[in-house]
């Protein structure tokens, strides 16, 4: 087997884990929800789940259903899904974090057999010290236990690798996921500035949930299925989501402006560079326009040639990780 051809790019996000693999000249993607839900154990439930092929583990008096199926069960039981990660890194407060992460990765990746794997890690959020060391080391340990030759890549840089071949991998890549918005300015494939902000999809869900009294899980579904920026909302939930979306975008733009304004060691850019938006939180219709409007009002210090959405916002980070794995 050609191990290079079988290389894997993995976007390990707070909300979803996306796998990218090469199939001939195309890229192939598969994703799993990075979540699980506990349901009471009974022999009957366990056998039905096994029969239906629903990925799960039995844990004492509970059955833990993980991955994509967890959301259906959570909705059915009116329960919140639990996450293995929070704010872009493994959740140290969640006792099932590691076993469930291992289960989800095993379902998604299978055995490593010495294949190359590049997985994404977040940059430290502004105002926080570097906090991804444990996260990165633990994931590496899991991957090497599964038989992979694993390396990490900054999430924002992965967006650049996935989307900016036209500009020799020079530009600003932004990935807005569940826990964090990750940002990287890359110059000829070298990450010059990378940071994150701890406001992303989960912040919108949790804030809107507090205001409306709806479960965060339901807010997330409402947000992903129906929300769009159109300036008028008859529905209160949509109105509240729009307020927090706006707050998130403003925070992101302020962080971009402040950081790029104050960063020394900036490369001398001979021409305007592109900015690419990716990640599940950028999906609502109108996000790009709203972001561009707020950015244009912000006295942004870097000349931009374009602000565009990633070709596939849900997959571009994993694609970038795969491109990095292939170029190793």
């Amino acid at each position: 087997m050609n191990k290079s051809a079988q290389a894997i790019g993995l976007d390990v996000g707070t909300s979803r884990i996306v796998r990218a693999q090469q199939n001939g000249s195309d890229f192939e993607f598969e994703s799993q929800l990075n979540a699980f839900v506990a349901i009471p154990y009974s022999k009957l439930t366990a056998s039905v789940l096994a029969k239906e092929g629903v990925p799960h583990t039995v844990q004492g008096s509970e059955i833990l259903v993980h991955g994509n199926e967890s959301e259906k069960f959570a909705d059915l039981l009116n329960a919140e899904t639990r996450r293995t990660m929070t704010c872009g890194v493994l959740d140290a407060k969640e006792p099932e974090s590691l076993p469930q992460m291992r289960s989800i990765l095993t379902s998604l990746l299978g055995e490593g057999k010495g294949r190359k794997l590049v997985f994404t890690v977040p940059a430290a959020p502004i105002g926080h010290e570097e906090n991804s060391t444990y996260h990165e080391a633990t994931l590496k340990q899991i991957f090497s236990g599964m038989g992979f030759d694993a390396k990490s890549i900054n999430e924002g840089l992965a967006v650049v690798y996935g989307e900016m071949e036209e500009t020799n991998f020079t530009g600003i890549g932004i990935s807005c996921g569940g826990g964090l918005c990750n940002i990287c300015l890359s110059y000829l494939a070298v990450p010059v500035v990378s940071f994150s902000i701890a406001k992303a999809g989960d912040y919108i869900d949790a804030s809107a949930s507090q205001v409306t009294g709806e479960r965060a899980n339901r807010i997330r579904i409402a947000k992903e299925e129906a929300f769009h920026f159109n300036g008028f909302f008859a529905d209160k939930t949509q109105q509240v989501i729009s307020v927090y979306y706006d707050d998130m975008i403003r925070s992101l733009v302020a962080a971009l402006r402040d950081t790029f304004t104050s960063t020394r060691n900036m490369p001398k850019l001979s021409r305007p560079i592109p900015l690419v938006l990716s990640g599940g939180t950028t999906l609502p219709q109108g996000f790009h326009d709203r972001f561009e409007k707020i950015l244009n009002e912000s006295h942004f210090p870097i000349a931009l040639s374009e602000i565009r959405m990633a070709s596939n916002p849900l997959h571009s980070t994993a694609k970038g990780a795969l491109v990095a794995a292939l170029s190793e």
């Binding site: 010290e129 991998f169 403003r250 302020a254 402040d258 709203r290 170029s327």
Partner: protein, 398 residues
């Protein structure tokens, strides 16, 4: 100069010179590689080589050298490519203030699950830290209107815990430790401060620096950028285990030393101006009565000089100068019956601005108070909405 002009007007020669720049050469070569994976491989490989090249070779620049030095191709210029990502990550998030002020240089020496130690001798106990909601971007007001936003901490507010204190004696050691632990538990529960300095001078991180601590709700301060209202999001809170009433003389030298090294570290990390390191009494206001000094901790005797800071008691009191707040006899007593020079300075500034605007002083004060009420109403009803209004004075939200 004629020679230089001929070079400048010759496009092909310009292109050639441009390509002598190592980064431009890499870019040019990379563009000739069709396969994106191969191109990335080339760029990553050559960037590693570039960072391994001696700095004086990386920094050569041909454009400046050619007209003057026929044999030399390059001159020294700053490298466009940082030596490594790791080098950059240490400073890339530090926000540089507009001032030319010199900031302390402090770096982290060691970090583990229980503590962090710093190059200036500071040790921060981190085991007991708690999280809160992340810090929101905070509006900075000019003439009562939001003129922009900040995101990194702009200052430090010093507090006292006003908790029960035992005599600082060896036989009271267990009691001193117990009281410190009690107050730590209390402030953790209420997420009251970012840091607490106990009576032994031990520094505890209470709330993560990137999160908000509820230490200065109704409060105002201002600097050259503008005014900050509600300093929970914009300033870090540092508390001394101490009491104001008859207790400030009980501040231990170890606490002063700890506060000094902690302040140095925070100023180094966030480029915080000395002028923005203030006491709770200086910033606290009663928004209903328009009186300053709702809280009176550190209303006097704050050891600015020992902490390496300017005497900010002399700085005009921002709530008075910007929003027409006043002081009363209770606060004068809290100040030790001696007005801060900053109060007189704020009153002078207020008079000057009323004259400049051609409005009698009482009316001008009332206008400033109206400005504050407007901001306070926005903040009280919805902090996010207040933030929105800032960039969007017409109220257009979509």
């Amino acid at each position: 100069m004629r020679h230089f002009a001929s070079i400048s007007s010759n496009p092909s020669l310009q292109r050639a010179i441009h390509l002598l720049d190592p980064a431009s050469l890499r870019e040019f070569r990379a563009r000739r590689i069709a396969d994106p994976v191969e191109r990335l491989r080339y760029l990553r490989r050559t960037s590693a080589q570039t960072s391994n090249t001696p700095a004086f070779l990386r920094n050569l620049n041909a454009r400046k050298a050619l007209p003057y030095l026929g044999l030399l191709l390059f001159l020294l210029t700053p490298s466009p490519i940082p030596s490594s990502t790791r080098d950059i990550s240490a400073h890339e998030r530090r926000l540089v203030g507009a001032t030319k002020e010199a900031f302390p240089k402090v770096w982290i020496v060691e970090k583990n699950a229980d503590y962090e130690s710093y190059s200036n001798g500071l040790r921060v106990e981190t085991k007991l830290r708690v999280s809160n909601r992340p810090r929101r971007p905070f509006p900075i007001y000019v003439k009562g209107q939001s003129a922009g936003f900040g995101s990194a901490p702009a200052g430090i507010v010093f507090h006292t815990t006003e908790s029960h204190l035992a005599p600082f004696e060896a036989e009271e050691n267990n009691q001193l430790k117990r009281l410190a632990r009690n107050v730590i538990d209390l402030v953790r529960t209420h997420q009251s401060y970012h840091y607490l300095i106990d009576r032994f001078g031990r520094v505890f991180r209470i709330v993560e620096e990137g999160d908000v601590a509820f230490h200065a709700g109704w409060s105002v301060w201002a600097d050259e950028q503008g005014a900050y209202v509600n300093l929970n999001d914009s300033f870090l809170g540092v508390a001394f285990e101490a009491q104001t009433e008859g207790g400030l003389d009980k501040i231990q030298p170890a606490q002063i030393h700890a506060a000094r090294v902690l302040t140095e570290m925070l100023r180094s990390r966030y480029r915080i101006s000395s002028a923005n390191c203030v006491t709770h009494a200086q910033v606290s206001v009663n928004e209903k009565t328009f009186r300053i000094g709702y809280h009176t901790d550190w209303a006097s005797n704050f050891p600015f000089a020992e902490l390496g800071l300017a005497d900010n008691y002399a700085t005009p009191v921002a709530s008075m100068a910007e929003f027409g707040f006043e002081y009363d006899s209770v606060f004068v007593k809290a100040m030790g019956n001696r007005l801060w020079p900053g109060i007189g300075a704020a009153e002078r500034r207020l008079r000057e601005s009323s004259t400049a605007n051609g409005v009698p002083a009482p009316k001008w004060k009332s206008i400033l108070q109206q400005r504050f009420r407007k901001i306070a109403n926005q903040l009280a009803s919805n902090p996010s909405a207040a933030s929105q209004t800032a960039n969007d004075p017409q109220g257009e939200s979509q």
